[in-house]
């Protein structure tokens, strides 16, 4: 009769607890117990004597549930009260293992079996995909509602991103600006996720997701101006290239440190929730970032504070030279969600349609249920970490070539839109050439623009200039006047 498993708790407890439960494992983990606490007292150690009676073995109880009123009441009644009320003593009943454990740290039932949870599940978490490597829908795949206009817009953006990366990378190599890194192999994660979001959603990127800004309307000129650090750069020339950001487009300006944006995204989402905005926050990061303390803090805060946050991990296999085997021994990132009570999914990061669907659904969950979602997008970092890196030192060229040529996400999506009759060789040629000329034009224009004025060195440290900075600016101008040849001439004074 009175089995007191998860269902009982789920029904009888508060909505908060119900959510937590349904959000975590399908059944709570039982707690091993050998001595009966009611008999031996709170600290029922065998050494303390004869009253410690071994609990009986009646097999696994975790799957047995009952949802009778009686069981509900039982679970809520303290043991002492139960005895007083004349209910039968349960110490040696079949249901001993099922008694609800009321420690504050975990709501579960007892088990006599000492079972350690295995370090990994029997099977790795499957990866959600809709299109195969050749851009063909998988059998039984339920494709999203996507019309020609949206599909070709996504494709065009991916091509633009790919083209910008290729040309900017070369430009950096030629010394036109100081640094660059590409999104090669991760164009789908960039653009498909951006397409599934709403412009009101606040996006905290790392540094390999310029496609979100691109989708939202950051122009090729905006990108080029930032990389050149000229007067038109929204960041006023202060940060390294690729450190984009736009208030207008709801993308806070990114920084270089890894994973710092993750707890910030949770705070932002809390703010959005409290002001009842129909928006979520989105945080992008790589596999390496999942090792940082900020990642764990962010997931925990998001779960506890029930924030509408979508965490999108680009698990691309490499953190500079560090392979994922040196980064974590779990089944990737996706399983970490459950550890924090967060609903999670693993997606093929090179499948535009699967990503679009997963992010769209995650957004719905985040906003409608006010809870975080974790998406692990499996991909491959086709480019070097950055222009400061030569990845041939730590991975095989053939491996890179394979992913570049055979597994390219842009090409995969192209095949699908071609099969829909929405794209052909002619449109391909046109978009490629258009993308190329627009990147080159933007770059040339950016290179000709002036640098930001010198005063920008001192402004924005605070909302207004404190006296120490005012004084330092005067000192600097004084020394420049004395030694004009000692300073760059392309920065207007």
């Amino acid at each position: 009769m009175a089995t007191r498993g998860l269902r009982v708790l789920a029904k009888s407890s508060t909505p908060l607890l119900r959510r937590t439960l349904s959000n975590s494992i399908s059944e709570t983990r039982p707690c091993a117990r050998i001595l009966d606490a009611e008999c031996s007292g709170a600290a029922a150690l065998p050494a303390r004597g004869s009253c410690g009676v071994p609990a009986r073995s009646y097999g696994s109880a975790t799957n047995r549930t009952a949802d009778t009123e009686l069981s509900k009441n039982w679970s809520k009644t303290p043991p002492a009260a139960r005895r007083l009320s004349g209910e039968p003593e349960k110490a040696f009943s079949d249901d001993e293992d099922h008694e609800i454990l009321d420690y504050p740290g975990a709501k579960t039932n007892f088990t006599h079996e000492m079972t350690f949870i295995p370090e990994t599940a029997a099977e790795p978490v499957p990866c959600f995909r809709l299109l195969n490597d050749f851009g063909q829908p998988l059998p039984w795949a339920k494709l999203p509602q996507m019309d020609a206009e949206l599909a070709t817009k996504i494709y065009r953006n991916m091509v633009n991103l790919q083209t910008m990366d290729a040309i900017f990378y070369e430009a950096q190599r030629q010394g036109r600006f100081s640094f660059y890194l590409t999104t090669h192999g991760e164009e789908a994660i960039n653009i498909a996720s951006a397409a599934a979001l709403s412009p009101q959603d606040v996006v905290f990127t790392q540094y390999r997701e310029p496609g979100i800004l691109m989708w939202r309307g950051f122009t090729m000129q905006d990108f080029a101006d930032q990389c050149f650090g000229n007067a038109a750069d929204l960041g006023k020339g202060r940060q390294m290239p690729v450190h984009y950001g736009s208030r207008e487009l709801n993308c806070p300006t990114l920084s270089s440190p890894i994973a710092t944006q993750l707890p910030q995204a949770v705070g932002a989402a809390y703010g959005l929730k409290m002001s009842r905005k129909d928006a979520c926050s989105v945080a992008y990061f790589g596999d390496g970032a999942s090792s940082e303390g900020d990642f764990h803090a962010a997931l925990n805060f998001a779960a506890i504070l029930e924030t509408p946050t979508i965490f999108i991990c680009r698990n691309n296999g490499w953190a500079i030279s560090t392979p994922t085997n040196d980064q974590f021994r779990s089944d990737g990132i996706v399983v970490k969600g459950r550890g924090y009570g967060i609903r999670s999914i693993r997606v093929d990061g090179m499948d535009t349609l699967a990503l679009y669907c997963a992010v769209k659904e995650a957004r719905k969950i985040a906003i409608e249920e006010s809870r975080p979602v974790l998406i692990e997008a499996l991909s491959y970092r086709v480019g070097h970490h950055s222009t400061s890196d030569d990845s041939s030192k730590y991975r095989k060229k053939a491996e890179i070539e394979h992913w570049k040529l055979v597994r390219d996400p842009v090409n995969r999506f192209k095949k699908w839109i071609e099969a829909q009759g929405w794209w052909d060789a002619k449109s391909e040629k046109a978009i490629r050439s258009e993308a190329r000329s627009s990147v080159i034009a933007a770059m040339n224009k950016a290179g000709q623009k002036q640098k930001p004025e010198l005063s920008n060195l001192f402004t924005d440290v605070y909302d207004s200039l404190p006296s120490n900075l005012r004084e330092q600016e005067l000192q600097l101008r004084d020394v420049i006047a004395k030694y004009p040849r000692g300073y760059p001439t392309d920065v207007p004074l």
Binding site: S178, F179, G229, G237, R238, Q239, M240, H243, S255, S256, P257, I258, G288, A289, S291, E292, G293, D294, A319, I320, S321, T322, D326, Q327, F328, S388, D389, K393, Y394, K451, P452, L454, N456, L457, F458, V461, N468, L469, Q472, L476, V479, I480, K482, Y483, G486, Y487, P488, V491
Partner: protein, 382 residues
């Protein structure tokens, strides 16, 4: 003086050559008989010297990252209980300082860690507390802050809080610091002053390959936790003759790089080469500058600086970090306390401005040669 240096270095090298067993049998950090003896010898010899290099010591022209690589190689070779780890260390590190070390000493002694600075330092403290030498790499000093808690609350207080029952003296944290020409906010910072405010750790910054090798070996073998900042701008740029063997340079001992009579200049790391240029320019105008490399920032060698200021009557301190709360402020205050009546001009500080490190404006932000020269002239004509 040169003879004594030569003798010290040759004794030291003989020890390293002849006594490998003894070295390997003395893993106890801080009390290692050999390394203690080696350090004492080199301290005595070099305390009064200007340069580590001497007549017959075999030397090789090396850049900074190769000198550091050599020091790490020696550290691993001379102590089987030494370990090197950090992000991307396995393939040689992003600045190539750990090149070939994993291949030579195995992946159990030289290894990648997950991308987590607090994890790296916390792990290193625990490893060091078990009488090992833990040489941890933080990829950029700009990324050391997640480990701040471990350094400040744990490493620095490990000995004190246990009544000296425990220590993590075998800990050395290496991190590239400073400007590099295009690093912007997060690849340029000089965070040394944060750590100089923490009793219990030492902060060491070398200026050149030969200095780096000797100071790093001392830091690794010192019985206290050391934060060792490497001037990344110099990794490839700075090249000099470096003694090939195992040698150490004393910690907490400043070095007078250039003697002078009119003004004392104090600095450390990459900034010294800028200051040296200013000294040369000043000498053309008849001003004689004494240049001191502090080398160890805490505990620092006040006596050497004090003696110099008592001679010159003027002091200028220069560093890349923002002027407010920088370590220059501490030096300035200490010297004013000790040499008040001897000072003939206010102590000058030529430092970074109180702004984040900027990309495009880097040449303006930096404490450049002409800013230093200007301050020298102002001080001398005060």
């Amino acid at each position: 003086m040169r003879i004594s240096i030569t003798r010290a270095l040759s004794i030291l090298q003989r020890c390293a050559r002849d006594c490998p067993q003894q070295q390997h049998s003395s893993p106890s950090v801080g009390n290692s008989t050999l390394s203690g003896a080696v350090r004492l010898l080199s301290s005595q010899a070099l305390a009064t010297s200007k340069e580590p290099e001497a007549g017959n010591v075999p030397k090789k022209s090396l850049n900074l990252f190769s000198a550091i690589n050599q020091a790490l190689h020696i550290a691993l070779e001379t102590d089987p209980r030494s370990y090197i780890f950090g992000e991307d260390v396995n393939f040689g590190g992003v600045f190539r300082c750990t090149t070939n070390l994993a291949d030579t000493f195995g992946k159990h002694r030289v290894f990648n860690t997950p991308l987590c600075e607090q994890g790296i330092v916390g792990f290193a403290i625990g490893l060091a507390a078990m009488d090992n030498r833990a040489i941890a790499e933080i990829q950029f000093a700009d990324y050391i802050y997640p480990a701040f808690d471990q350094i400040v609350n744990e490493a620095a207080k490990f000995r004190y809080r246990s009544g000296n029952q425990f220590n993590c003296g075998g800990l050395t944290i290496r991190a590239p610091y400073g400007a590099v020409g295009h690093g912007g906010h997060y690849h340029s910072q000089s965070p040394e002053s944060f750590f100089c405010h923490v009793p219990g750790i030492k902060v060491v910054i070398p200026r050149s390959p030969a200095q780096a090798k000797g100071l790093l070996l001392s830091s690794i073998r010192d019985p206290n936790p050391v934060v060792f900042f490497e001037p990344k701008w110099l990794y490839r740029q700075s090249v000099e003759d470096v003694p090939e063997g195992d040698y150490m340079l004393p910690l907490s001992k400043a070095e007078v790089m250039r003697e002078g009579t009119d003004i004392t200049l104090v600095g450390w790391g990459a900034q010294l080469s800028v200051m040296e240029q200013a000294c040369i320019d000043a000498s053309k105008e008849g001003i004689s500058c004494e240049l001191i490399d502090l080398r160890t920032l805490i505990p620092w060698d006040r006596e050497t600086v004090e003696a110099s200021v008592n001679k010159t009557g003027r002091l200028l301190v220069s560093h890349e970090a923002p002027v407010t709360g920088g370590f220059g402020a501490e030096i300035s205050a200490s010297i004013v306390e000790r040499c008040f009546l001897r000072l003939e001009a206010p102590v000058a500080r030529v430092c970074g401005y109180d702004t984040p490190f900027p990309l495009v404006f880097e040449p303006f932000y930096m404490p450049t040669k002409n800013k230093i020269l200007d301050a020298i002239k102002t001080s001398v004509s005060y």
